[in-house]
């Protein structure tokens, strides 16, 4: 195949970036998208130009490192597929491909296609856990968890934290990520004790960094793990309840 790339190049967080064009002949259909970029980078290096910086690690759709806008779509054209799992056979010979970093105020560009997604960690840090210090756990089979409940929690827990949901959202909202993280824990019996404080803290932290959700649903479309926006509804419900509950607790003081 022969493709033409238009790639965002930006030297550093504070330097302005531009789209650069690279001709990429001799690409095999069997290559993954990132292997195609590897080839382009090898050629750039040979020509004395600095290779394109992008993030990737597992290259099997689980670590959430990779992520770029490909022709305006987060992770490109294939549904439920992270950039690293996308293959060149999904593109036409002669295609022009536009590659950009995630665009969101909460994800500043660090270099080329690399962005800073640490805002996600701040959300988790604020309450995205069950307090279970090492050593204090009861036997694992003590609490029965119906299969359906475990499955639902797992559906939420499958989030890889790539940030495609934010990048795809016209408002750069962080709802789908936050909802996935909250529901993973809030659905489980072990997560009940901190359920309402968790949702309150995490949603409040999310709002410090991200835009607000106006139900476009683009996040679900872009998610490489097909996480459902229903989780956002559950999160909102818990958040509303949290306001009441926490107030009730306060009034008992």
């Amino acid at each position: 195949m022969h493709v033409k790339l238009h790639v965002w190049r930006q030297a550093g967080p504070t330097t302005p970036g531009t789209m650069e064009t690279y001709d990429a002949p001799g690409i095999s259909e069997e290559m993954s998208f990132l292997e195609m970029l590897d080839v382009v980078n090898e050629r750039l290096n040979a020509d004395g130009q600095e290779p394109i910086a992008f993030e990737h690690d597992c290259r099997e759709g689980i670590c959430g490192s990779c992520g770029m806008m490909i022709n305006g779509q987060a992770h490109g054209p294939q549904r439920g597929t992270a950039t690293c799992q996308l293959h060149m056979r999904k593109f036409q010979d002669g295609a022009e491909i536009f590659i950009e970093p995630w665009r969101a105020a909460a994800f500043p560009v660090l270099k080329d296609l690399i962005v800073d997604r640490s805002a996600f960690d701040r959300i988790v840090e604020s309450g995205g856990y069950i307090t279970a210090p090492t050593g204090a756990a009861p036997d694992a089979n003590l609490t029965l968890i119906p299969k359906e409940v475990a499955d639902a929690a797992m559906d939420a827990a499958a989030c890889i934290g790539c940030g495609a949901c934010v990048a795809a959202c016209p408002n750069s909202a962080g709802q789908l990520f936050t909802a996935a993280k909250i529901n993973h824990l809030n659905l489980l019996p072990q997560g009940q004790a901190e359920r309402y404080t968790r949702v309150q803290k995490m949603v409040d932290t999310m709002e410090e960094f991200f835009g607000s959700c106006t139900n476009h649903g683009e996040c679900q479309e872009a998610c490489p793990k097909d996480i459902s926006i229903d989780f956002i509804a559950y999160m909102n419900r818990d958040y509303v309840k949290a306001q009441l509950k926490n107030r009730k607790l306060l009034s008992q003081d």
Partner: protein, 639 residues
């Protein structure tokens, strides 16, 4: 010079050692813990669990990871599951059986006492993970589901769909973030450790580079924990994540830590075969697939029909044929070697004839296509994305690939290296898996080390240092270490050659795979011993690293590949030295008449722990003799 190696295994009967030793070890009182600074490098399963636990107990913990978030460590990619001797299925499992299986599976090259402790604490790991909210698979009644996994005859593997590593890592990461929130852990992401600092023979700190700003900083502590994963990427093509590398352990090795059994690498039987030169990594298909899939090749090497048209009597289910009692579930090394034999005999399948079939037709008839799909959905989807073939309809094609490294820094029973104050956890150490790791046991070991071992053994070490201040950052040892880091980076940037880092990495990988891969012999290893130093020399003459900004991925990779070029040589030396076959180390010269691995216990029942001798110079071998008191030494047989 290093004196004799003391494994510090406590006395007492195998079943009581750890319990008794926990009582005998020194403690650090809760109020004193905040007077100790502990550095943890790496936040995969081993690092995150250790940091969380030590943070909860009140130590001052600093965590460094080169990832942008701890959540992305290579542990995230583990698919199949985690073992624990819970015996929830009442099918004959016990701590002793898990211990026994692990020692035997490791082909009698691990330290018994460590393995027994691992089997003991396996029980607590599952409890801990469930308490954190790890959504393990459940039965309809709500109890935990288990499955049998690669080579085990009991069902002791807990799993979360095909994403067990992800879920366990999220659990450990969340527990750690709770401590970051509480202020007991300082988390430094995108920060790569580039050197270990040693003063008067003891570890006292690290040199770290911020991968965004390029700043190089010094950090001092009472103890340093390396939880930095394995070195499978020395082969370039492996199932490891692309960033996985050996620099942390290699730098520590150069500062005096012994590297043990470096040649023990695990080749995993079920990976997707490479499709061409541009292949950047190999993808694992969890071996849980072997529970329902049958492995075969056509009997006719010139077979051209599509697999479903090949009649039963023209198929060779070679594992079932050769190993009737274990069949498709033989341990990884055995399955891998047999697949290689088939491909070498020209019976490989696929366009490049570089794979064997893994067929789900029988399972489909037995339990229905939808149940098969439900069990392995994410693996099937992954396979289809990569190959454009649907495994519910056509058999998968698989081939062995480098997957795990059993070798690593030498540690004693306390997980401390021979450098006092330097502890090594998880895949980075060598201790528990001998010459071959059983499936679902790496997650178990990483979490055992981090949650349930280190807090005891670290306290025992620190107790003697109460009142000591960490070495000041302007001490000459820090100046020297930082200088050497700076010099090395300048050198890498200024070579000004023509070839890329990837070029050298690929070339190294080819040498390693050809001569130090699934089967090894003297002549091949000696060839490698000539080719690696030549390649390394070329690297330092002709490498091109471009870029003058602080964030520079080529520079990061160059440093890592430079280290792999040294480590690869050590692996080859180790493989040459060990003139026996054991586990993943198959020496052509040492096999039974049937072609099975032949161990030579009289001469090689030892851990080979190598001391750094300088670039290109011969390292010095130290031996830790292995004795087997609880598990009877026997040649493995899976017939």
């Amino acid at each position: 010079m290093i004196g004799s190696l003391d494994s510090n295994v406590p006395p007492g009967s195998m079943g009581d050692k750890w319990t008794q030793h926990k009582f005998d070890m020194k403690l650090v009182a809760p109020g004193n813990r905040r007077r100790f600074d502990v550095i943890v490098i790496g936040s995969g399963l081993a690092g995150a669990s250790a940091a969380a636990t030590l943070g909860e107990q009140g130590y001052n913990v600093k965590v460094f990871t080169y990832h942008d978030t701890p959540r992305r460590a290579h542990s995230i990619a583990a698919q199949g599951g985690i073992n624990a001797a819970k015996n929830y299925k009442s099918d004959g499992d016990s701590v002793h059986r898990l211990f026994y299986d692990t020692v035997k599976g490791g082909d009698f090259r691990s330290r018994e006492a460590n393995v027994h402790r691992l089997a003991e604490v396996s029980l607590d790991i599952v409890d801990q993970s469930v308490a954190q909210g790890v959504p393990f698979a459940r039965e309809y009644g709500g109890l935990l589901e288990n499955r049998s996994f690669g080579g085990a005859q009991v069902s002791r593997t807990f799993y979360a769909r095909g994403q067990t590593g992800q879920q366990l890592l999220l659990g450990a990461y969340q527990q750690m973030m709770n401590q970051v929130h509480a202020g007991s852990i300082q988390l430094h992401t995108r920060s790569e450790m580039l050197d270990l600092v040693v003063k008067d023979g003891a570890a006292c700190g690290v040199i770290v580079r911020d991968l965004v700003t390029g700043d190089v900083t010094r950090h001092s502590a009472h103890a340093v924990l390396l939880c930095t994963g394995g070195y499978g990427n020395v082969f370039y093509l492996s199932t490891n994540a692309k960033y996985s590398n050996a620099s942390a352990t290699w730098r520590a090795h150069r500062r005096g830590a012994l590297f043990a059994n470096p040649c023990f690498t695990q080749i995993h039987p079920t990976c997707i075969p490479a499709s061409d030169e541009f292949q950047s990594k190999l993808t694992l298909m969890s071996e849980s697939l072997r529970n329902d899939g049958r492995i075969w090749v056509p009997t006719n090497p010139d077979e051209t029909r599509s697999p479903d048209l090949i009649p039963e009597d023209e198929r060779d289910y070679f594992l079932e044929r050769k190993y009737p009692s274990f069949g498709n579930l033989v341990p990884r090394d055995v399955a891998s070697r047999n697949a290689k034999t088939m491909v070498d005999e020209g019976k490989g399948v696929g366009p490049l004839k570089n794979g064997v079939y893994l067929d789900f037709a029988e399972a489909r008839d037995r339990i229905g296509a939808s149940t098969v799909y439900e069990r392995y959905s994410n693996l099937f989807d992954m396979y289809q994305r990569i190959t454009d073939e649907d495994p519910t309809k056509v058999p998968m094609r698989i081939y062995p690939a480098v997957h795990y490294t059993m070798g690593g820094l030498w540690v004693d029973y306390h997980l401390m290296s021979n450098v006092p104050g330097l502890f090594v956890l998880g895949e980075a150490n060598f201790s528990d898996h001998g010459a071959n790791r059983l499936g679902a046991s790496a997650l178990m070991q990483g979490l055992a080390d981090g949650y349930f071992v280190i807090s005891y053994t670290l306290a025992n070490y620190l107790a003697d240092h109460l009142g000591n201040q960490p070495v000041p950052l302007d001490d000459p040892v820090f100046n020297e270490a930082q200088q050497s880091v700076d010099d090395r980076m300048k050198r890498l940037l200024s070579i000004g050659g023509t070839k890329s880092v990837d070029h050298y990495h690929r070339e190294l990988g080819k040498i390693m795979w050809t001569y130090c891969g699934m089967a090894r012999d003297k002549a091949g290893l000696e060839t490698a011993l000539r080719e690696i130093p030549a390649l390394r020399e070329d690297f330092w003459l002709n490498l091109r690293v471009l870029g003058d900004g602080p964030m520079n991925q080529s520079l990061e990779r160059a440093g890592r590949v430079a280290d792999l070029l040294e480590l690869g040589e050590l692996m080859v030396r180790d493989a040459l030295d060990r003139e026996e076959s054991c586990g993943g180390h198959f020496r052509e010269e040492s096999q039974t008449p049937e072609g099975e691995a032949l161990r030579r216990d009289d001469e090689y029942s030892y851990v080979a722990a190598w001391e750094w001798g300088g670039v290109g110079a011969a390292p010095q071998l130290h031996k830790e003799p292995l004795t087997f008191d609880s598990v009877h030494l026997s040649q493995r047989s899976y017939k």
